[in-house]
């Protein structure tokens, strides 16, 4: 597969997941702000923006600003609208590789944004819409794409992004209200994990158990450990499809090393240790994801660097 196409596939996976997870995080935070009168809107919004990587926020921010920066504003790189636009642009570049149904669901999602239908939707409904579109895209990919390299890159992108975003979700829960159980309940809900969590932990919601579930659960598909595991599998498939070459000792792929190390650290350290400073821990997780992306880029996409465009006409 062409390096350039592989890179596009990787980023389709990432952008779609980013749009979905941003919607999930916003969903929790906006409903918390509405429900909990004791929260300071300014502080909560600042906390949220900094975790989502918006550094240049003005001194006074309110919910409307946050929704603009993280959802509607197509010019803000952290917004859902921008993520969908970028996913579609990547898909356009890899269009001959994508299945037709997959291209069409991505394209129609994007059409809703450029046509202004997206901007007309209001806060809670919009998050549901993003989740549904993302489920449609992922489901269509799952149902129509061959499990070749392109697929592995797509899933790899999705898993790295998911590990990154779940870590941000955990960080927002820990930061914004010091981790009341209400906060954790809605965080779990945002992941669609609340019922699964209740069954697994028999109803005791605390910072410790909720964080453990979202970080370490091996069976829940949005947990950090689960995502890292999948990402490692994808890398292993990409490195040696159908062979056992390199199986004797260690890993030669830098991304695989980084992700494996991060995962084993989470799994083998004591929970108390991990939970002690969740925000810092989660920030390290995000750094690992960024480094792993760099490593994947160097290993697989080298030479696919963007070049300046020159106009050309054809008959």
């Amino acid at each position: 597969m062409l390096s350039r196409i592989a890179e596009s596939m990787f980023w389709i996976g990432r952008y779609v997941e980013r749009a979905e997870d941003t919607a999930r995080i916003l969903d929790v935070q906006t409903s918390l702000l509405l429900e909990d009168a004791t929260l300071d809107e300014d502080d909560t919004c600042h906390g949220l923006l900094s975790i989502m990587g918006v550094d240049d926020a003005p001194d006074h921010v309110d919910l409307a600003f946050v929704l603009g920066a993280l959802a509607y504003d197509t010019t803000s790189p952290t917004s859902i609208a921008a993520a969908v636009g970028a996913a579609r642009e990547s898909a356009r570049r890899a269009r001959e590789t994508l299945s037709v149904p997959l291209w069409e669901v991505i394209n129609t999602t994007y059409r809703d944004i450029v046509s202004g239908r997206f901007a007309q939707r209001r806060a809670p409904g919009i998050f549901q819409w993003v989740r549904e579109r993302s489920a449609l895209i992922n489901g269509t990919a799952d149902a129509t794409m061959t499990r070749d390299e392109g697929w592995h890159f797509l899933v790899l992108g999705r898993c790295i992004e998911r590990a990154d975003m779940t870590s941000r979700l955990i960080a927002t829960a820990a930061v914004t209200s010091g981790g009341t159980s209400d906060q954790w309940t809605s965080t779990l809900r945002a992941c669609g994990a609340y019922e699964a969590f209740l069954r697994a932990y028999r109803g005791v919601t605390s910072e410790r158990t909720a964080a453990e579930f979202l970080l370490l659960d091996r069976l829940f598909p949005r947990s950090v450990v689960f995502s890292l595991n999948r990402a490692e599998q994808c890398l292993a498939n990409l490195e040696s499809p159908g062979t056992t070459a390199g199986a004797r000792a260690g890993f030669s792929n830098e991304a695989q090393r980084l992700l494996g190390r991060a995962r084993t650290e989470l799994e083998y350290r004591s929970l108390a240790d991990v939970v002690a400073d969740l925000p810092a821990e989660m920030e390290r997780m995000q750094r690992t994801c960024a480094l792993a992306t760099d490593a994947v880029t160097r290993r697989f996409f080298a030479g696919a660097e963007a070049l300046a465009w020159q106009g050309v006409t054809s008959a």
């Binding site: 062409l2 390096s3 196409i5 356009r92 394209n107 059409r111 080298a302 050309v312």
Partner: protein, 550 residues
Amino acid sequence: MSAMFEGYAGTGPAYDEMFDGRALRPPYQRLRTSLQALTQPELVSRVEALQAGYLDQGVTFDIGGEERAFPLDILPRVIEQATWASIDAGVQQRVRALELFLTDIYDAGQVFDDGVIPRRVITTSSHYHRAAAGVRPPNGVRVHVSGIDLVRDNAGEFRVLEDNVRVPSGVSYVMTNRRAISSALPETIAAHRIRPVAAYPQRLLAALRAAAPAGVADPTVVVLTPGVYNGAYFEHALLARTMGVELVEGRDLECRRGRLMMRTTRGLAPVHVVYRRVDDEFLDPVHFRADSMLGCPGLIDACRAGNVTLANAVGNGVADDKLVYTYLPDIIRYYLSEEPLLRNVDTWRVGDAEAREEVLDRLDELVLKPVDGSGGKGIVIGPRASRAELDELRTKVLADPRSWIAQPVVQLSTVPTFVDGALGARHVDLRPFAVHDGSRVWVLPGGLTRVALAEGELIVNSSRGGGSKDTWVLAGPRTDRADDIPPADRSDRAGRAGAAEPARRPEPPEPPPATRETPGPVLADLAEREQQQQQQQQQQQPTRTEGAPC
């Protein structure tokens, strides 16, 4: 009779393809009958669905970086079998002659010595590339893909307006238009027997594979695109997808020791045939524009070394030159010893002194075209131009007469078109596409009909606000359906019936009754009942015999 076409009238002297005065022309009989039941609001809603569908599927083209849905008119253009047969033969003839001509001028140049065309016409063409001289394509083909633009004059005769043997575009819309119209007008499609267009990518791939360098048993074919910002990117992606080959950009390619490679996730992989959609000037910074980022340094040398085939070959543009066009009838006679089957539009070479005088006198009634233009750029239509424009043109023509040709204003034929909620006559042209695989020239039945959407407008290019129409080439009548052909038609077609009868596919064996092995606990009860019903059904049904519809 039909409310739909009531009040429709052709404009001026132009040939209307549907109506001859008030009388319906035969090819359109079925079309009108099948559309009769359609009410205006229903038609409008189908038009809207058509456009929304193109946006959702991303069937777009770019104007100045903005993506727009490719405009497609809902009413198809119908071409009868006999008319098509003559176009088909004429295009084949033309492509064969162009092929021989290009091979000759980049080699010995016999055609110059025999005085058919002056050598300076070729050497002064901006598309003549010395870099292409002496490069012999592996199977002798230079014009793998061509698009010959045709117009229909006032008498209804198809004439050649220009040749495109560089990188003709638009074929993807022929395929998507057919699919879109099939879903917009299913009843109408069902009432006709239309020759399919979907086979194009397979034909093209076969031709590209046939052009591979000698000794390569399983060649790697790629489509080379300038990138997503190119106006025809949609087409490049569609062709790559439907041929099942990689779509590459210049930066994906690299030349090593006279061989072309592409960068993949597993390192460099060899490439043997490049269907390039990048213009000559941008292909190889070593030979052409040094600032090009769209090509790959060393590509031409790899081609010359015989390690990679470029389709279409470099330097073909010289045949698109409108001055060379004026010599084409002689070129056809020279190489093939045949009379041209498709005539050119009457043309004056402004470079010739006596012609120049006449042209300058009649500047306000002629169409002036730059010889190396494409996409309708630079064309001045005399009767529509202002005094100032004509004066400017006169200066330009006098400064460089070699760069201009003049033609009378050809009234392109008209076809009913649905614009702004009403039917009106609009001018159309036709670009049939031909694929040459080295042994024969295959012409895609139909081609791209472009339509000028503004009333009276004669320039149909999509970059100038033109639309398109699905173009139906009718297949021969089915013998078993002869009774629903109107009597007037029957005598006309009877002679040909049978010749075009397609081989009927044998009846596939009856599949075993569908049963689910594991219906699941809830469905199990239901499925059991259904099976019983199916078995009862089968007892009532006699075994199917030959000839049953499949």
